[in-house]
Symmetry: C2
C-alpha cells in the first residue's frame, strides 16, 4: 500500500505534515520499547516482534505523509526530499522492509539476524535523517 493511496481530498498539506509527524512520533516510541530489549538481547520476545512490526507499519504511514503538495508546508522535512524523490522513496521502502524482516526474524527466534536488522534499522533512520531532515 504505497503513497498513491492518499487522495488530495483527505490530505491537505498541513494534514500531511501532521500525519507523518504523528507516525514518526509513534515510531520513536516503538524504538524506545525496542532499545532496552536490544540491550538485554531479548530478540525473541513477543514484544520485540510486535514493536518491529509496528515500526514497519508506521513507516508506511509516515511515508504516505510526504505528499507533493506538502513540499512547502512548514516542517523539518528538507526540500531535498522532493528534489530526490526516488532516493527518498527507496530509503523509506528500505526502512519498511528492514523492520518487517526484523519482525520476521524475531518471530523465527533468529537472534543474530534480528540484532543485525536492528542495527540496520538504526542506520536507516540516521542516514535518512542526515540527508533529509533539517536540524
Amino acid at each position: 500500500m504505497a503513497a498513491s493511496v492518499v487522495s488530495a481530498d483527505n490530505m491537505r498539506p498541513e494534514g500531511s505534515v501532521e500525519y507523518r509527524q504523528s507516525a514518526f512520533r509513534l515510531m520513536e516510541f516503538q524504538l524506545n520499547f525496542l532499545n532496552p530489549m536490544h540491550r538485554s538481547q531479548a530478540y525473541s520476545e513477543e514484544a520485540f516482534a510486535y514493536r518491529a512490526d509496528m515500526l514497519s507499519r508506521l513507516g508506511a504511514l509516515a511515508h504516505e505523509g510526504f505528499t507533493d503538495e506538502s513540499r512547502s508546508a512548514d516542517s523539518r522535512a528538507s526540500s531535498r526530499i522532493w528534489d530526490n524523490r526516488e532516493d527518498f522513496d527507496q530509503r523509506m521502502l528500505d526502512f519498511i522492509e528492514i523492520t518487517a524482516n526484523m519482525a520476521e526474524a524475531s518471530k523465527a527466534g533468529d537472534n543474530r539476524q534480528t540484532r543485525d536488522l536492528f542495527r540496520q534499522t538504526l542506520q536507516s533512520c540516521r542516514s535518512c535523517h542526515d540527508q533529509y531532515r533539517l536540524d
Copy 2:
C-alpha cells in the same frame, strides 16, 4: 499486546498523552480514508481492509497511552477513564476487535458484514468519546 507492555521507563505522563494523541490523530485519518469508500460501498477494496486493519492496530497503541501515571496530565481525557477503568478498557478492546473483524470481513468480500462493522466502528468511537472525552 495490552497496555501492560508499556513500562514507566519509556512512558512519562506527558509522553503517554503525546503517544495516544498521535495514535488518535492517525486513526482519524484512517477514518477519513474509509469514509468515502463507505459512501461508494467499496468495502471489498484492498485499501478498505488495509485502513480497517491500521485502525485496529492504532487503537491498540492509543489504548497503551492511557497509563495510570497520565491521569492528571493535561489532555481531553476525562478522569472518569481512571474511575471506570474496566469499562474504558473494555470499550477500547471492543473497538480493536470490531475494526479487526471489519478488516477480515473486507478481505473476505463480505460487503454487508463490512458495512455493519463500519457502523459499529463509528458508534464505538462516538459512545466512548461521549463518556470519556472532554469537550
